[in-house]
Symmetry: C2
Subunit: 181 residues, 2 copies
Amino acid sequence: MSIRGDRKIICVDMDEVMADALAEHLLRYNQEFNENVTVKDLAGQWIWQYVPEERAAALERYMQSDDFFAVLGVMPDAQRVLERLQSQYDVFIATAAMEVPKSFNAKFEWLKQHFPFIPPSNIVFCGDKGILQGDYLIDDNPRQLRRFQGEGILFTSPANLNVEGFRRVNNWLDVEKMFLD
Amino acid sequence: MSIRGDRKIICVDMDEVMADALAEHLLRYNQEFNENVTVKDLAGQWIWQYVPEERAAALERYMQSDDFFAVLGVMPDAQRVLERLQSQYDVFIATAAMEVPKSFNAKFEWLKQHFPFIPPSNIVFCGDKGILQGDYLIDDNPRQLRRFQGEGILFTSPANLNVEGFRRVNNWLDVEKMFLD
């Protein structure tokens, strides 16, 4: 399956896998509505399912704001493990930026800042990860994993706690164990 | 190979296949340097190979300018034939925007304006088309066609006139004949 030589291809999702978008959502939401929602409250739901319907537009507004993607935190151990993965696999970052077109550049800059060792040629913006050829896709979204042609690996997020049918990793240390140990 | 059902997947490059970037390059170049370079002068060369070395930076500057991608003309028959292709194939637009990150949004808007029937989910920004799974890639760049895992179809541009080893289409009427007749 490798593009060059016999290395396997691992595709990696960005939001909730490399970048902690949910924390930023909660921060802005709690500030605006004077709430104290935590990730525990979201178990089994996406945040836009959890919040009252009349506040869903606020979440959309956060994502469309110019600085949302620039300030996202990096998931623990993601940098170290991804750099190790790169030494044995062809690693591609695959992010579905199409719903927030303004985010293209911010996401690209974020990757350059926090993952400078990933070459731009290995970054893919696509709305439908079924178009990727690869051996593995690590993603928190079961819909994308189902469309992917290789093996989907579910990266735990509050929303997918009850999802079954995929091998699951809870964090980047689990990814390290699965692919490198 | 299809993502849903048994339709084949056709990936289509954007610059020089859907969008006439070369015409805009020549227009700006001829204006700035008071020249009269035509596509015929470029036979067998990319424009950055043709121009004197000290002017290569100008080409780079055109592409980096905010309005370059927004004003590009549409290749003859591209709209009609792509819309027909969509009725029988899964069509994905695959463009290597990574060298000009500022172009993401402009390219996305250009596609929305001129090809509104292509859903955002079927647009892919990627620097390396080897990551795409698909049956065909229509592209003017032999380097991308070689990396692609399906069949590469060479879309004629001045630079690739002497390239061999691929089935070739000279224009969108040829694409229509190859895939729809």
